[in-house]
């Protein structure tokens, strides 16, 4: 049950963390990192921010196990969608196809 009343102090701490993470992601976007590390860093910060919102603002941390399953399922399926999509597109150049004749 989510009858739990979250103290206002917790909301303020989460809000401050989200603001700091927003500044951090803007700052990190200008770092000259090799390869796709800029993308990985930006998405890691976004996932951390989303997790804070889901757990505290959306009260999932204080909710039933079934709510955890519901909340987790959507993002699990999203990961499947993106993983299978990119396993196709990213691997297309790995093997040279025979030229037509």
């Amino acid at each position: 049950m989510s009858d739990h009343v979250v103290p206002i102090r917790v909301y303020l701490v989460i809000f401050s963390s989200l603001m700091v993470l927003t500044l951090l992601t803007v700052w990190a976007a200008f770092l000259d990192l090799p390869g796709s590390y800029n993308t990985i860093l930006a998405l890691s910060i976004a996932i951390l921010k989303a997790t804070l919102v889901i757990l505290y603002f959306m009260h999932v941390r204080y909710s039933s196990r079934l709510t955890w399953v519901y909340a987790g399922a959507g993002f699990f399926w999203l990961v499947i969608l993106l993983a299978f999509l990119m396993s196709d597109y990213l691997s297309r150049d790995w093997q040279r196809l025979p030229q037509g004749w």
Binding site: L18, F30, L78, L81, L85, M86, L90
Partner: protein
């Protein structure tokens, strides 16, 4: 007050905890369909950015980073006031529920206003996909002759995604504002108490979800091309 709490349990439920659990799960089930709904666009973005990385970086850098970052802060602020509105409902503070819901709507309005300013810039710059689309600003680090695609056409693809994703997100914000107006009306009619605040909490779930969508849109649309601006970017 206990009589009041009984009167708000719908007849198909045994008690208030069961009703609350059911409505919370129902909202999450709806949000799952929303994850999939936006997921298709995120998938299209992932695939097309992988295909046209230079075009996506160039087009992304033409967006106003300051306005995007301010909007992110505004939306996170609106999530805080939303959470405080739920807190006020849980602790029987009727005036505070209304105050925080009004603040939530106000911050949502600021977000949509800033978004409108950004859209207006894009119209003036002819960066809106369609017959009048132009994108001539090609920075030094892009060697157009080495690209195996048309840079301008690919930037138009980026802006199609930009308008589709932010437009769909803005539509969700407008719907959210409508829901909050209903909540204010219900709070004004004194419908909520520590025994019955489900509607405020469930509406809050929706509002926070829309915030989460923006938390991902902001880095994907505004940030991921910025490091190319550095000298000798790669």
């Amino acid at each position: 007050m206990s009589d009041h709490s009984h009167s708000v349990v719908a007849h198909q439920f045994d008690d208030m905890p069961q009703q609350k659990e059911t409505t919370t799960l129902a909202m999450w089930a709806f949000l799952l369909t929303e994850v999939m709904f936006f997921g298709g666009l995120f998938g299209a973005y992932t695939m097309l950015r992988n295909r046209f990385p230079e075009a996506f970086a160039v087009a992304s850098n033409s967006l106003d980073l300051t306005l995007g970052a301010v909007n992110t802060a505004v939306l996170i602020g609106s999530s805080l006031t939303m959470a405080l509105a739920v807190h006020a409902a849980q602790t029987n503070k009727r005036r505070q529920i209304i105050l925080f819901l009004v603040l939530t709507i106000a911050l949502g309005g600021v977000f949509l206003g800033i978004k409108a300013v950004e859209y207006n810039h894009k119209f003036h710059e002819h960066h809106v996909p369609g017959a009048g689309f132009h994108f001539e600003e090609v920075p030094d680090w892009v060697d157009v002759s080495r690209l195996n695609y048309d840079l301008e056409k690919a930037t138009e693809t980026f802006f199609s995604l930009y308008f589709a994703m932010t437009g769909l997100h803005a539509l969700h914000m407008v719907v959210g504002v409508g829901i909050m107006l209903v909540m204010i009306w219900m709070a004004y009619r004194n419908r909520f108490s520590e025994h019955y605040y489900g509607p405020v909490e469930i509406s809050g779930l929706y509002w926070h979800f829309v915030d989460i969508v923006w938390i991902f849109l902001f880095p994907l649309l505004y940030l991921l091309g910025r490091h190319f601006l550095l000298e000798g970017g790669h």
